[in-house]
């Protein structure tokens, strides 16, 4: 168990736990109190945690298996759409057109019956399973073809980007039956609880925090297992791993699929808190931004990825509110700085400082020329 929860993981989980306990308490305090958190901020914080899950998902496949996916936003969005479809069904007859069987946008398009792929989504457990299964299945099929043909490195990155781009175009089409341009929105409640009620918001926030902790632990369990070591081996010397008898493609597909399902989970938690899912989530730029979260926090550290996401997204919120013109400059500069000067990210920086304060390390570890 000590392998699973090391110092960083322990600190992060402890901090996460404290926040998860404190936020609901603070939100129930009197509005006048200095420590009170307004109810509208809770979904925002929940949203940040969703991004942190997404970052952990990407770090699992990029940091450990060297698979740089530029399409993880697609898995996130698919998970979001699955839950969004359920929330649409739950609106029922309370929509503008008061049609009990069809979501508003379908009535607007003049459709008479529910498309077959919407069947079952009125039942929450089905939608919840689909939120994991659809991204997972897409990743499995895509990865199975890609890794078996030994598409790797930059090529893989480019075709994952093309994948999310194709999905972006597809979901923009009204004919697809996912609300086209506007996506899915105007949700009322989930499992009978109003989405605008503070208690629902707190519950979703806590749920997201638990999901983040679970994803961190699952990812960590995978990476410290022998399978995780094989993944790193593949990253460092793929053909050597093959000559040892490991079927590299199976490992890659496995980790890619698990990672996509985590991204789907993040999307599923994101949608009820944000209240909308639209094709914009498939934009390739979104997927690339996830990469910088991971790179900033520290690639291959899991906890670092989560921290990176939280830091970048918080800065983004602040900058876009106060200096909207500066945000893209800052993000662009961040990409360059991280790549050129911070190869190990924030956690790497912290590690370096810690080592510097300690006495000189064991001379045996000096790298021979």
């Amino acid at each position: 168990m000590s392998k699973l929860i090391d110092l960083r993981m322990g600190l992060f989980l402890a901090a996460l736990f404290i926040v998860t306990v404190l936020v609901p308490i603070a939100s129930t305090l009197d509005q006048g109190s200095a420590l009170s958190i307004p109810s509208y901020l809770i979904p925002l914080m929940g949203k940040y945690l969703c991004y942190a899950i997404l970052a952990v998902a990407l770090d699992l496949c990029w940091g450990y298996a060297g698979i740089l996916s530029l399409g993880h936003g697609a898995f996130f969005a698919l998970g979001g759409y699955a839950i969004g479809m359920h929330l649409m069904r739950e609106i029922g007859a309370r929509g503008v057109y008061a049609n009990p069987d069809l979501p508003d946008f379908m009535v607007f398009l003049g459709w008479n019956e529910l498309p077959w792929f919407w069947y079952g989504f009125d039942w929450f457990p089905f939608a919840a399973v689909m939120a994991l299964l659809v991204p997972g299945a897409l990743a499995f099929v895509f990865g199975w073809f890609a890794f078996r043909s030994r598409v790797s490195g930059v090529y893989l990155s480019i075709i994952t980007q093309a994948l999310t781009f194709a999905l972006l175009l597809a979901f923009f089409r009204n004919e697809m039956g996912f609300g086209g341009n506007n996506g899915l929105t105007d949700f009322r409640d989930v499992l009978g609880f109003s989405l605008s009620a503070p208690s629902t918001r707190i519950a979703l926030f806590v749920l997201t925090a638990i999901a983040l902790a679970a994803c961190l632990l699952i990812a960590k369990a995978i990476t410290v297992s022998k399978a995780g070591k094989v993944l790193v081996a593949v990253r460092d010397a793929e053909s050597r791993t093959r000559f040892m008898g490991y079927r590299v493609e199976n490992y890659s597909v496995f980790v890619f699929t698990v990672s996509a399902m985590m991204a789907g989970l993040a999307g599923a938690l994101y949608v009820p808190q944000v209240g909308i899912i639209n094709p914009g989530e498939f934009a390739p730029a979104n997927s690339i931004e996830i990469v910088v979260w991971v790179a900033l926090g520290g690639r291959g550290t899991l906890v670092g990825a989560a921290i990176g996401a939280l830091v970048v997204v918080a800065v983004e919120s602040w900058l876009t509110a106060n200096f909207p013109d500066l945000w893209l400059f800052a993000l662009g500069a961040l990409f360059i700085i991280v790549v050129l000067w911070m190869p190990n990210g924030l956690l790497g920086l912290v590690e370096k400082l810690r080592l510097r304060r300690k006495p000189a390390p064991d001379p045996n570890t000096e790298t021979p020329a």
Binding site: V154, A162, G332, V339, L340
Partner: protein
């Protein structure tokens, strides 16, 4: 300038020869006869006026048709009335002499009814068929083709005989044939007419013959059906040609966007996600050049693109060199890191342009010499498309020759194939890297000049091309310029052939899916680099 009076003379002489002109009254005499008699009498006079072939007659008939032709009570002079109703002014119908204000009740309108209006229109058609102005003659012939009137048959015949310009005669021949079909001529004559019409453009064949599909004469109906079917086949064929042409021109756009990448990614192996933004900078360079010319020397606007081409190449090339020296150089051999850093560059460039020029589209004009279109068979070809195809092929072959024959090209290939060896031979590899990257960037700038002509010049311009460009290069086979050409053209053509039945968006999605599957099947593209080195 001698042509015009000459033609007028010819037209006049021929008008005399036609049977209708037999009465040999002058226009002056005929015009004075207009107010008298019944509508039928007036119709006869109109026909005779037309038969004079006198160019002045047209204005008279036009005024009559519009109800502006009146007779002055005082002297019986025929005048064309203008001005306002309160203060009507008059001009002499034949001489055009300005008669000044007429007084409110000084004239009497020459009345027309609907049947007379038809006669007048036909008569005017006959008149304009022999108008001295070729454009009007052509318009008259085309009008006669659209609404064939049996009364015009002889006039068309005469006009055909007299016509000296081939393209007008062709139009007249068609109109003549269409009129024969409308007349009560015998079957053989009509079959000949169908044969004549079937040689026309598919649209003309369809619109002219459609009414005769159900002709009572079975032989005629069959001939008409055959002709229409043949026209449809021809149209379908030209439709394919049109698709092919659109596809090639889209392919040229893709080629332009991808070709710079073929250098930086294909030859150097550098993933430059800022490539699209370099294209955008090229487009904004064009915008700036045009702005400068507009404000300082508008008469040179036709040269704006020619000036923008070298400027965009140099400016964007310089930006490329700066990116290479500042960032990419530190990341050789780390493609994923390069990808991330250049993405950062692309965000910065985008936002910089947005801050300077604003987020909206900027207007980039097309010089006159490049606008317009011409007809090729059944399809319309616009000049800007032709220009882009030629431009992109020129850039492609220029680049190919540069890589193959110039000293710089040789050094580039040497460095990319064996860096250490090239360095040992005294090639300054750092300089070659910078110049190669600059070349790729400069070509992106050229692409920007071309794309400014067909796409919106906005800060997002580059975003829409980056994914396509990478797919083209990867699909064609990295490191192979010919592969890039083949990939761009085949993707462009495939896209345009998919569009009619799948729609633009779905067509694009299908192409994307195809490429994704293709790369998984053949990761090294259409034309992979072969050899042991590639096996690694």
């Amino acid at each position: 300038m001698l042509l015009r009076p000459f033609l007028r003379l010819v037209a006049l002489c021929l008008a005399m020869l036609t049977p209708l002109a037999a009465s040999a009254q002058t226009l002056e005499e005929l015009v004075t006869q207009l107010p008298a008699g019944s509508y039928d009498d007036r119709a006869a006079v109109v026909a005779e006026i037309a038969a004079t072939g006198d160019p002045r007659a047209l204005a008279v008939l036009e005024a009559l048709l519009e109800g502006e032709l009146e007779q002055r009570n005082s002297d019986g002079r025929i005048v064309i009335v203008g001005g306002t109703r309160r203060a009507p002014t008059g001009t002499d119908a034949l001489t055009g002499e300005d008669l000044g204000e007429l007084g409110r009740r000084a004239t009497e309108r020459i009345r027309v009814n609907n049947s007379l209006r038809r006669t007048i229109r036909t008569a005017m058609g006959v008149m304009t068929l022999r108008d001295p102005d070729p454009a009007r003659r052509l318009a008259a012939a085309e009008a006669a083709l659209r609404s064939p009137a049996v009364e015009q048959l002889d006039a068309l015949d005469a006009a055909m005989q007299a016509e000296e310009l081939d393209y007008i005669r062709e139009a007249q021949t068609l109109a003549h044939a269409a009129t024969i079909l409308a007349s009560d001529a015998d079957t053989d004559t009509k079959l000949d007419a169908v044969a004549v019409i079937s040689g026309a453009s598919a649209l003309t064949v369809q619109s002219t013959l459609n009414a005769y599909r159900a002709a009572e004469d079975p032989a005629l109906a069959a001939a008409v059906a055959d002709a229409i079917e043949a026209a449809e086949r021809r149209q379908a064929l030209w439709g394919q040609a049109q698709n092919l042409w659109f596809g090639l021109s889209l392919g040229s756009v893709l080629l332009l966007a991808a070709i710079g990448l073929a250098i930086t990614f294909g030859v150097m192996g550098v993933i430059n996600l800022a490539h699209g933004e370099l294209v955008m900078l090229g487009a904004y360079t064009t915008f700036l050049v045009q702005e400068t010319i507009r404000t300082h020397a508008p008469e040179y606007f036709g040269w704006s693109l020619a000036i923008a081409v070298p400027l965009a190449f140099l400016f964007v090339g310089a930006v490329g060199v700066a990116i290479e020296r500042g960032i990419v150089r530190h990341l050789y051999g780390r493609p994923l890191e390069t990808l991330l850093a250049t993405w950062g560059v692309s965000l910065i460039l985008q936002q910089a342009v947005r801050s300077v020029f604003g987020p909206t589209n900027r207007e980039v004009g097309t010089p006159d010499w490049m606008s317009g279109a011409f007809q090729l068979g059944e399809m319309t070809v616009t000049w800007p498309r032709v220009a882009i195809v030629i431009f992109s092929l020129t850039v492609f072959f220029g680049l190919l020759l540069t890589m193959r024959y110039s000293a710089m090209g040789l050094q580039m290939r040497a460095v990319t194939q064996n860096r250490a060896m090239a360095a040992n031979l005294g090639i300054r590899t750092g300089r070659v890297d910078a110049l190669t990257f600059g070349l790729g960037a400069g070509i992106a700038g050229l692409a920007g000049v071309a794309l400014s002509q067909i796409d919106n010049v906005s800060p997002n311009l580059g975003q829409s091309y980056i994914i396509d460009s990478f797919l083209v290069v990867v699909f064609g086979g990295v490191g192979n310029l010919w592969g890039t050409l083949a990939a761009a053209m085949s993707l462009g053509v495939a896209n345009k052939f998919l569009e009619p039945w799948a729609g633009a968006v779905l067509g694009k999605i299908l192409i994307l899916i195809f490429i994704i599957l293709f790369i998984q099947k053949r990761p090294r593209g259409l034309f992979p680099q072969r050899g042991r080195a590639a096996e690694g």
